[in-house]
């Protein structure tokens, strides 16, 4: 059972390395330690023209032993201001990580999904009410400046300090 996970993770690792060039917003996706394939990290880059531009957002990915059947647990390590991300814990509210997970997803595709979640927030199911309220009130400018501030505060520059 667990060997199946390892096989699959190894496979994903190799696929990730091969596809590295095709995903501009995913700077890094790899196991934290070479000998532990069940604990990964990823670094998302804020897309240009978004409020997250220039930010490097670190993700922590924990893979369960029955992985493709059960979804991985992903959270933001870097503090990020986003309606669907808990500001303190970094928990992500994304349907494909919860109810809509299917084994056909891969870590790579999930990371891409999270990356696109950054630019397409879903304020109706918020984990960060303040950010969501701004959006719900239609205060895009306020929201953007808030996001920009937090991005500048946490995600730009100090990325080396983990």
């Amino acid at each position: 059972m667990s060997s199946a996970v390892h096989r699959r993770m190894l496979k994903e690792y190799m696929a990730v390395q091969k596809n590295a060039a095709t995903r501009p917003h995913l700077e890094l996706l790899e196991p934290i330690q070479e000998d532990d394939l069940l604990h990964w990290q990823a670094i998302l880059l804020g897309t240009a023209d978004s409020a997250y531009e220039g930010g490097r957002f670190k993700l922590d990915i924990v893979i369960p032993t029955n992985y493709p059947i059960q979804s991985p647990t992903i959270r933001f390590v870097t503090k990020i201001c986003h309606p669907n991300v808990h500001f303190k814990t970094g928990e992500i509210c994304l349907d494909i990580l919860k109810s809509e997970w299917t084994p056909a997803w891969t870590l790579e595709s999930v990371c891409v999904a999270i990356s696109s979640l950054l630019t397409n927030p879903e304020p109706s199911s918020p984990l960060n009410c303040d950010a969501a309220n701004l959006l719900r009130c239609g205060d895009t400018a306020g929201y953007n400046s808030l996001v920009k501030m937090y991005t500048a505060l946490y995600a730009i520059g100090d990325s080396d300090e983990e």
Binding site: S2, A4, E12, P68
Partner: protein
């Protein structure tokens, strides 16, 4: 398939459709080539095991989320066969393609024997996926010497080297007019399988391991093939292809090659006696007559050419009856068109698909596990097309699947009994037993869906592995829980300590305030003197603040002994506030009375 981590992107970019094929033959869940492919109502295909595991948790298709259930899935036999065979020939095909795409400079000028060796090493090394090992992978001199470009060589390899290619070979034969001889071969290959004396033994035993049904084919009928011998050789001579033809196309060459293999095999197998004068060439491994050795070496092997007369590997020819060897040593030309790696096809002649054709010669071994009665009739190596899948056969009943149980409705005893019936362990609590039953049901039922089912013993082995993994998993989870508990406890303690400290600080502040309030009238006569010039509370406030801060910092220091790091920040904060207070008091007093700042200065020094 235990080692190689494969991916559709392994294929060169030029062969996009191969990538497509590869990716479509993969299970979306495990990303491996399909094993025991099943199709759901929505026509998505998965490994039986993977989809069963998924459907245990959720009843929807992983690819399109359409609601579905285990009962609605069907075996996809054809796809499974395709995936199996694709997996068999994948690495070789890949190597060949890669070489064709980026030709190595070595390939062309190197003389055949070296080329041969390098090739075989290459392939062995690069095909960890293939369970069966080729004894020898050789290329006939015709192929090497006459091929002028790499593609040709590559084709030659495909045609000749790969034992997996025998799958094609056999298929072709099936459709060829040689059918009756095909049967003949099955019977005649018995001796080859049984005579385990020479260098081919390894391969033989290995191949018998991998093709499950080998033992069933051991008893063979030696007499039956005698009548057809002349026909076979006749055909052989007639159909012996010119070298050019061999390379003309992949299909035709396999076809022709197979027919020659068939016939030659049919003609040589009659009694297992080792030829006396035959030796193996130290360079090319071909069987050659002993007196001819030096000539062969000088003229061909050392000269970089291949001997057109003696092209059959020693390991193969030495297994043949003396009469055949005599024929071979006398007139090597008789076997000139026999492709050397025939032995790879010989090692697995007992493939069950063909055995069906000759029922009399293949009695079922009674030793076969009783519960795994499904026969790999259509199981191995592309022999399936020969026998239409659904010929009315009394044998091979569809194996009984293990029905799903509702574990909550069973008590321990019943569950234990169920496990016992299946021959599983019965230890552990109910949760473990239920999980064990579910796991076994999954892999057993998945195995039932396979066209290459594993024997029960392997499933049992898998169960043992699962047991160990489960135990380990439990342990890990236990440790994780303990660590989490400890962390929570520590946090609670820290929180409590903070709370207590805050409390103490408040108390101290209150007490100090009270004290200061009591002290101020008598203790500070100068302030009372000058009290008209300023607000009366200022000196008191400054005093009380100083005392307050002093007490707080004292208590903070006490805690700091315990949680130095934890409170370093707090202490700093307290100090800062102290400083601020001091300055404020100073400012206040300077604006009012200059003599005032004495008491606050003394306080922090304690």
């Amino acid at each position: 398939m235990s080692e190689g981590i494969t991916d559709p992107s392994d294929w060169p970019i030029e062969f996009k459709s191969l990538r497509e094929i590869d990716s479509h033959l993969r299970c979306p869940i495990c990303k491996e080539l399909l094993r025991a492919a099943v199709v759901l109502q929505c026509s998505h295909n998965f490994c039986s095991e993977c989809i069963r595991r998924h459907l245990d948790k959720e009843s929807s298709c992983p690819a399109c989320r359409v609601a579905t259930s285990t009962s609605q899935m069907r075996r996809n036999v054809a796809l499974d066969e395709i995936a199996n065979n694709f997996g068999d020939c994948r690495s070789l095909l890949l190597n060949t393609l890669m070489e064709a795409v980026q030709p190595k400079p070595v390939v062309r000028p190197v003389p055949p024997p070296q080329f041969v060796k390098e090739e075989s090493m290459d392939i062995d090394y690069d095909s960890p996926q293939q369970k069966r090992r080729r004894t020898s992978t050789r290329i006939t001199n015709r192929n090497v010497s006459s091929s002028q470009d790499h593609t040709d060589i590559a084709m030659g390899q495909v045609t000749l080297d790969d034992d997996k290619d025998d799958d094609f070979v056999l298929n072709h034969r099936d459709s060829s007019p040689l059918r009756h001889k095909g049967k003949n071969v099955h019977r005649s290959t018995g001796p080859v399988l049984r005579s385990r004396g020479g260098r081919a033994e390894q391969t033989l035993s290995q191949s018998s391991q991998s093709s499950q049904a080998d033992e069933r084919h051991e008893p063979t009928n030696l007499t039956k093939q005698e009548p057809s011998l002349p026909t076979a050789s006749d055909h052989f001579h007639n159909s012996a292809p010119a070298p050019a033809e061999v390379q003309a196309s992949l299909n035709s060459s396999t076809n022709i090659t197979s027919s020659t293999i068939t016939t030659s095999v049919a003609s040589i197998a009659s009694s297992p006696v080792i030829g006396p004068n035959l030796v193996a060439c130290p360079i090319c491994d071909k069987g050659i007559p002993e007196p001819y050795t030096n000539t062969h070496l000088d003229k061909f092997c050392l000269a970089g050419r291949t001997d057109p007369d003696y092209t059959v590997p020693y390991s193969l020819i030495s297994k043949q009856p003396a009469s055949v060897i005599a024929l071979y040593t006398k007139q090597g030309t008789s076997t000139r068109d026999v492709v050397p790696d025939t032995n790879s096809s010989l090692t697995k002649p007992g493939t069950p698909g063909r055995s069906v054709g000759s029922n009399s010669s293949t009695p079922n071994s009674p030793a076969r596990q009783s519960t795994m009665q499904w026969q790999p009739q259509m199981s191995s190596n592309g022999t399936a097309p020969r026998q239409p899948m659904f010929t009315p056969k009394p044998a091979a009943p569809e194996p009984k699947r293990i029905p799903k149980l509702t574990y909550s409705l069973l008590n321990d005893k019943q569950l234990r009994k169920k496990l016992q019936e299946l021959g599983l362990q019965t230890n552990g609590d109910k949760t473990l037993m239920a999980k064990r039953h579910a796991e076994f049901a999954t892999i057993f039922n998945a195995n039932c869906d396979s066209t290459r089912p594993k024997p029960l013993s392997e499933l049992m082995k898998a169960m043992q592995v699962w047991e160990r993994a489960y135990e380990k998993d439990l342990e890990v989870r236990e440790t994780q829980r303990r660590i989490l508990d400890q962390q929570q406890q520590a946090q609670r303690q820290i929180h409590a300590a903070k709370e207590a400290k805050r409390q103490a600080k408040e108390d101290a502040a209150a007490a100090a305030a009270r004290e200061a309030a009591m002290d101020s009238p008598g203790a500070t006569p100068p302030s009372s003197q000058s009290s008209n010039g300023r607000s009366t509370f200022v000196p008191n406030q400054a005093n009380s603040n100083a005392v307050n801060v002093a007490i707080a910092s004292a208590s903070a220091f006490a805690h700091a002994a315990k949680y130095a790091d934890e409170y370093a920040e707090l202490i700093a904060e307290v100090r800062n506030r102290l400083q601020a207070d001091k300055e404020k008091a100073l400012a206040n007093t300077t604006t009012t009375i200059t003599a005032e700042p004495a008491p606050p200065r003394s306080a922090p020094s304690q």
